[in-house]
Every structure is written in C-alpha cells, then in structure tokens.
Subunit: 612 residues, 2 copies
Amino acid sequence: MEERIHTWNELAAQLAVDSIRCSTAAGSGHPTSSMSSAHLLAVLYADHLRTDVSDPKSLANDRFVMSKGHAAPLLYSVLKSIGAIDDEELLTLRRFGSPIQGHPAPVPELPWIDVATGSLGQGLPIGLGMALGIKLDRSPARVWVLLGDSEMAEGSVWEAIEAAAFHGVDNLVAILDLNRLGQRGPTMHEWQADVFTARAQAFGWHTLAIDGHDVAAIDEAYSAAVLADRPVLVVARTEKGHGASLVQNKEGWHGKPLSPEQAEQAIAELGGERSIVITPSKPESFAPVEAPPPSKDEAPAYDGPVATRKAFGDALSWLAGRRSDVVVLDGEVGNSTYTEEFSKVAPERFFQMYIAEQCMIGAQVGLQALGKTAFSATFGAFLTRAVDFVRMAAVSRANLRLCGTHAGVSIGEDGPSQMALEDLATTRALHGSTVLYPADGNATVRLVETMCDLPGISYLRATREATPSLYGANEEFPIGGSKTLASGSDDRVSLVGAGVTLHECLRAAEALAVKGVVARVIDCYSIKPIDAATLRRALEDTGLLVVVEDHRIEGGAGDAVLEALAATGKLTGRVVKLAVTGMPGSGTPEELRAWAGIDADAIVARVLAELA
Amino acid sequence: MEERIHTWNELAAQLAVDSIRCSTAAGSGHPTSSMSSAHLLAVLYADHLRTDVSDPKSLANDRFVMSKGHAAPLLYSVLKSIGAIDDEELLTLRRFGSPIQGHPAPVPELPWIDVATGSLGQGLPIGLGMALGIKLDRSPARVWVLLGDSEMAEGSVWEAIEAAAFHGVDNLVAILDLNRLGQRGPTMHEWQADVFTARAQAFGWHTLAIDGHDVAAIDEAYSAAVLADRPVLVVARTEKGHGASLVQNKEGWHGKPLSPEQAEQAIAELGGERSIVITPSKPESFAPVEAPPPSKDEAPAYDGPVATRKAFGDALSWLAGRRSDVVVLDGEVGNSTYTEEFSKVAPERFFQMYIAEQCMIGAQVGLQALGKTAFSATFGAFLTRAVDFVRMAAVSRANLRLCGTHAGVSIGEDGPSQMALEDLATTRALHGSTVLYPADGNATVRLVETMCDLPGISYLRATREATPSLYGANEEFPIGGSKTLASGSDDRVSLVGAGVTLHECLRAAEALAVKGVVARVIDCYSIKPIDAATLRRALEDTGLLVVVEDHRIEGGAGDAVLEALAATGKLTGRVVKLAVTGMPGSGTPEELRAWAGIDADAIVARVLAELA
C-alpha cells in the first residue's frame, strides 16, 4: 500500500506540474483549478478507471467526463500520463490549430475525449446518458464525472442527480472537487461538504466525504463507490492550487497562469518534473447484446390529414423495429409529441426524463457518444430551455436528433408561452445543423428516417394540428431539397412556405388563380440547408418571392431564403417576408394565423398589393 | 373558526366550479390542475395574501405568482372572486382577443397579474426576484408562489431554492401542489411529500407538509409560514380534479375540459355555482425608501483603447449614482463582465446569483415587475442557458437589460465553449427586442445609459479585448441608427461592421484605399432595430455591400441587413456576408478572425474578388 501511495502522490505531483507547465507555456488557462483535482484523477486513472488507451472508443471502456472543463490542463496532463499524447503536444495548449484547446473538445486527434465541456453543469447530465447507454448495452463499464463546486449552483446538475436516482444507475460516480474558490471569490458553501452530501442523499444518492488530497482515502472511496447499488457522489475537500504555496487556497488565481519564474518555483516545490507513464486497468470484456433482425414492416403512410407530430411518433415506432440503435428521450410530454408510440414498442430504449429539458439533451449527448442514434422531443418552445446544451453538443461533434412540436401561433388556444416562435432562428444558427419542417405525414416519415443517419444536430419542426396529405408514401425528400407544387410558364409570384404555411400558400395560389394571377408554390421542407438554386430561379422567373412562416420574422425561413439568394449572386427582385411580428394571445389556429398575417387571405392581399 | 372553515370551503368550491365552467366554455384548458389548488388559493386570498385590488401595482401589496401556469382557470376564478373581473369575462377564457388567455399573461387589462407563466420552473426564480426587490424597498410585503409537482424536476426550481436560502429571503412562501399526476401519468414521486421536505430542508428552507384540501391545516400552515426566518415550502398533498368524482385523482384528465354534461354533473357534486366575492386584507402601509439625490458625476469617457465590457461596467457604476432604481445581477463572472464595478459602489443593489443563469434571469424578471431597472450580465455564450426565461420574459412584457460579454471567436484562447456565436440570432428573434453591439467605450456608455429607459428586452453584446476609441464622449447613438465612418462620392463598396468587426472594416478600407478602391464603412451598432435607410442607400450607391460579423452566418447582423433591405423595397445589388462558418478552436483573436475569414485581409480579398 505504501508503494501505491507513493506512486499516486508522485503521479498527482506530475499532473500538477504538467498543468502548470502547459498553462504557463500558453500564457493563459487554469492551472489552479487543475491542481485541486490532481490527486483525484491520479488515483482514478492509476487504479480505478478501466480503459484501453489504444482503443478509446471501445464500448467496454469506463468513461470519464471532465465536467469542470476549465481544468483542461489537468485532463491533458492525464492523457500524457497514460501515453495518449506526448509532452510536446501537451505544450501546444491553447495554440492555434492545436487539438489541445482551452477547454476539452472531442476533436479527431483526441479520441480519448468523448464530449466537449466548458459550459458548467453539463457533465453530469452527459454522464447520466452514458450510464444509461452502458446499462442498455449490458456492459460492465462505469462512468466517472469530475464536478467543480461552482457548477453545483446550476440546476441542470440537480436535474441529473434526480434523474440518475430515478433511473437507478449504479454505474455512475460523481466526484465533486470542493476547492472552495469560484471565479471571483469564495463559493456559496466553501468547504461545507455536508451541504452537498445531505442534498445528494435527499435526492437518493449514496455519498462519501473525503480529503481530496489524501490518496489512500480517495482510493478507499472509489473502491466503495463501485460497490454501491445507486449513483454515488464523492465530495472531496481540496485546495485550489494545491502544492504550490504561492497559489494554494489563494483568492485571485482563478484562470491565471503562473509566470515562468513563478512556475519554476512552484514546480520545484512540487518536486520537479517527472515522466511517469501509467497503464490504466483494461476493461472487463463483454459481449454486446445481439440485435434482433430488423423488422420488415412497411413505413407508416398517410392518405389523409394527420398531424406531423403524430407522423413523427409513428415513424419512431416503425424505426424501433428496424434499428436497434435508436433510442428516444421524452420530457414528460410523450403523449403530445407522440414519442409514446415508440415507448409502446421499445420501452427499454425509451428514457423518461420528466420535465427537465437540459438534462434530457445532456443525457442524449451521452447516449450518442456511445453510438446510440438518439432522438429527443418536446414542445419546440421548451427546447429553448436547453439551447446551451445544444450549442455545446455542436462543440461535442454530437449527432443529435431533435423534434420540437407545437410550432408557431398555429397551436391556438394555449397561448404564447407554449408557442415555438424562435426555434428556427435558434437551430439555424447552430454549427452544422440541419433544420427540417415537413408539411405532411409522408414527408415527416421520410425525413425522420433520414435523420437517423444525419451527422450533427438535426431539428424537425412539427405542427400540432392535422394537415392535409400532399405527397405519396414513396416521395423522396433529400436534405437541401424542395418541392415545387404549382408552377407554370406564366408564374407572376413565387410563394414559399414550409409546414403549416405551405398549406396557406396553396390556398392562396388557388385564390390568386381565380383573380388571374398564377403563383408558383415551393415547399421549403429543408430550411437548412436550403434549396438555393430553386429559390434563385423562382425569384428570377417571377420577380416576386413571398416567404410565409409561422415564426418570428427574424432568423427563420425568410432569413434563410434571403441568405440563400445573397449567397448565390447579385440580388434582383422583390422578396417579401410574412411572419409573426406581434405578441399573440389565445384563439383558434385560423384566427391566429389571420391575426399574424400569415394565412391565405393575407398572402393574397399582399401579392395583389405588390403586383398592383 | 367554523365559520371561516365554511367560507373557505365554499370559496374553494366556487373556484373549482368556475374553473370547470370557463374551461368547458372554452372547450380546452386545465380544470383538473386548477381544482387541486382550489383550497390552497381560497385560504390564501381570503385570509393571508394582502393586496389592494383597486391598486394592484402598489409596491405595498403581497405578490402572487402562479408558477403552474396551466392552472390559469383557477387564477382567473380567483380574480373573479376578488372582484377584479366579472363572470362574463371569465367565460371568455381562451377566446381570440380575450385577455383571459390559456396561460396567464400580464396584459394591460389584467394588472393583477405581474408575469407570464406556462413554461414550468420559472415562477420560483421570478418570485425570488420579487422577494429581493421587496426587501430592497424595505417593504413588509410577501411573495407567494404556487408550484406544480411536475415542475419540481426543472433544475431552475432548485437554483431558486438555493439562491433564496443564500439571500436569506424570509418573505417568500412557496406552496407545492402535490397532486400526484403529471401530463402523461404519475409524477416521479407521486404523493411522497417527505421527498420534497427533506430536499428543501437540505437546501436551507423551512418546510411544512399538509393535506391540501384541509382548509384549517392550510390556514395554520400559512400563519406559521409568515413567521419563519427563512423561505418556506408548504408541501400540500392534493388530488387532481378534487371534488368531482369523474375526474378526481384519475389519470387521463390532464389538460382536458369536461364536456357540458360532465361539467353539469361535476358542478352539482361541488354544490353548484356560487357568487362569493371576498375582499383580501389590505397591505401594511410602508414608506418607500427615499432616494438619495442623483450624483452629478460625469459619465465615463475614453480617448484610448478599452474593452467594451469594461465600459459596460464603468457605465453601470456611473449609473448607480444617478439612478437609485438600477439594480444589477451577476452570474458569478462579475470580474469578467465588470459588473463588479457596480457592486463596489452599490453593493446593496447588486445580486450575486452564482452560476445559475436561469435563476438570474428569472429573478431579474421579478425585480423589474416591481419597478426596478434591472441589468444582468454574463458571457454571451452562457446567456443561452436562459433562452426560455428570456423568451417568457417577452411574454411577461418585461423590461430586461442584458449584457453578453466575450462575443465571438475574438475571445481567443479559451475556445468555442466560451464563445458567443449564436447570441445575435437568439436575441434578434425575441419579440420587441433591441440588439446593440458597440465598437468602442464611449458608444458603450451611451448605449447602456439609453438601455435604462428602453422598453422590452434589450441586449448589449460586448467584446473581451480592448478596441480602439472611435467616437467622442458626446457622440449620440440613437436606437435604430448607424454611423458612417468613411464615405466619399466614389465609394465602390460598403463595408458594414459592428463591434469588433467594425475595426476590421476600417483597416480593410485603408488597405483598399491603397489599391484605389474607396470603401464606405458603416457602424451598425444597432442591430435591431437597424438603420434600413442607410443600408439601402449604401447598396444603391455602391452596388456591393459586405457585412462582416464575429457570429454564425445565420441569424446575425448579415441576416438583419438582408431583412432591412428586403423590407424596404426591390433588391438590386450584391450583398456578401462574412461570418463564422466553421467550428473554431483556440488561438489568438487575430488568428481566429483570420481563420474565420472576418479580418481585414479577408475583407480586402473578398472585395477585390467581387469587383474583379
């Protein structure tokens, strides 16, 4: 044991020294927040976390999530200590082009990192998702999450604590680095470990409180943690900047590197540089669950009105039989989003996350990191609860399939709190996102099927009310495509709609025809990427393009159309955006579309005014 | 006492009956979720909540927040019972044009409602803000918040529970309607009241558990609650649909009205219609704190480089002396956003909300509801944590002043997790929002001063690094305006920038001048509303307009410019958007702007290519 203690302490000292070295070389970064956790990770990687460094993506491996992402120097120092990166790479921290970024990101060069962190409060929801995925795979792997004390103020952490207890995950260990100091001074509870143990216990967790620099205590805690029948929180009292008297437990050292002279002194105090390389324990082998043969059921098809949210649920239910990798998360609205259709046929792959959208998306990121094809759904309005999680998922290079139902004023009587009116703006702006908005049931089924294999973040916008059938069951809906539903040689206006407004455009075209105005109608079911060529041709052919959307006028389909037109050359013609500009109240969908000026009558009136 | 018990029960029955009547008349809504809380609100309004119904905005009044906003029928039934609205109005529930919307909203016709609810988990953060505002005013008023049990899964509730205990608010009572049933079935903890009392106690609250249909127990609990020296949670075990056997404690009745026949039977079971009108107790009178005379200090002014985030903090500090209504909330990054400058001069009006952005914005909504001019600030990236709160703040007709610092790839080494790259898209899409992005210190000070009196939600985007001084201290920056910094009669291109990219545009214009290309440069410091006339003229004059922004290409300044051009007539000319399209890593601000193609060199190259 004494030898182990020596090894752990030496490794911890190396991790602290390397954290200082790389941040001093960078001239910025978080050495002190790294040093507080050095013993915690030294013992973890030396003796508890089971992983094959040469096969980091193996599903047999334990996972580690650095929730306190600003302690990135420590994570990179650990990667060096396990032989994943070398010292030269470590010292490129924060340099342009280096994978060793200021906060951890799962860039291709660093397959040992599963997810990006750096926005606090996200690591535990993600770790929960991994733990759920591991249990689904019946793997013996475990998930270890290192939490900072400042992030315990984020509600998303408590969402995950609640959900982990509810789901009975016994393969999740959270380690709380209680280093007392936040960014601008002491944290709310400083070193009161009992505050956190009492809370976690009240939420159903097993807890342990230790001295986070006592390696034997850490080892004992981890050994006990893996035996618990529930999730475990290890509260470790530590010192920020531990081991270097200049910075140890001192205010004013958050996010600051030591100067070269200060670093030299601190490194000497820590016993100098070392070059220990450890080999973590290999994971237990396990046989993945054999997937049942894919069902040969036909895709759902519609020849009458159906709500696209219902078609979404039907599609998921159909996909459940065809693909065993598909999992679905619900924010306790599965009877509204129709994810309950999936839960009926694949309950073991359906995760009820209750009304906690941040945790739902975090868990989804964790599930996809283990190879699951994960869908989540809630009202589009309430997905805005988790924007930061989706933003970070893009940094995580995550493949997320999101569905936001109850889009626009067309939900009717429930009023504005339930209306998704900003969702297209939010999802369009995400890096690498795909934004889809089908107008009928058959289009929805095809797009949901396509989403299964889309990289990045894809968002399907769904309508509450039933919409008429427009397309046959075998129609194809390529990403970036569009459908021209009415077109002639003498089109004088192009009407561009998507989802519910496409039907208004079609009605408007009929009414305009009666008045002798032939209108082209384009279904922009793919808002991002958008069919720029078709839109440009439409403007060139007709000189007037009217984009109609049940969304705020900023950032949605109208802006997407303008962007496409601008990106493809000189602008010539008139583009009119009809969208929601006021604050809606209650009413029927028809009343509210009329009020917003996005119904067929409003389209007709505007077209005639423009052509007058 | 027996008479009081009779009165309370009669009033509760009336509230249940009226909730049934109005939702049945509407054909939709949430009668059962209203009925579970009827006794809780009957006792509250009859004997505990102190308010002057004829002067609902008086700061002396207690405040009530219906966090479970779907129980709106109950709230309207209460408003009828206190004589605020009449039965005819009640029966307009959910009709188009009626203020009696599907979820509560503070429309002008209903001054008894302070904030909108309907997105769960927001009422307690808002109530906390009200409680803080009341204490700041040294008013004896109290805040009562009615919580639903499903929303206890939202982390934002726990953020508020944490913050309320930390701030020691003893004027906040939360009532948890534990009715066991969520939207699609039982809640996670059903009737386990001890789960919630244990947790709230672990967070530092006083708790009480009662039968939520026992009016004497409710009365006793409220009487005890107001005597506690800390925030209080009253956990009330109730039945959804209580009092009508058809729906009482039955699954499948969430959000469903009774049919006229079912309603008739239920109303009979509840003892029929009543027309009780009660008068709540009048509030204690109190003398508002007298404001000190406004300081005559000069506004901060700069004649050299300064970071706009620093100028923001300086402006707040200056305004602290001039306006006693200004309060500031921090998400534990006050040394980065420089709100710490305000905290130094007005610590009693500075609220440290720690790293809990949802609670920060919720509390801000509560503070502004009591007339405070409230600013909050964090990294722009982390404001995305609270998008749903800001969205709902717009429904609340709230006046919020937000500052998001560390915008764009220009933050440099910290990497993408800390970069606000979607914030303009998000804030532009908010109803009635104002979006500002100053390029120098003096512009920042003027815009912050202007924000104090702006209605709705205003967002100031601030840069991490120091930027050169461009404007004199007395320059004016009207909302919706712009500044043309370089212009001649032979301009061949218009460069449009804002914030950090304006400086790149100016450098590009200098470099282009050397090559014989005269460029107009426009500072679009007001992104929404935007100076459409100047932009249109620029495109008409030069035929080429290049918009440069340190933001994703979707939804930001480029889209705002295109929207303005489209809205003002036929499009003719070339508009090029230069923005961030890839996933950044770490690097210096200069390296990252070059990588993104938004620096002076990239602008020059693109302009020359377009003109070639």
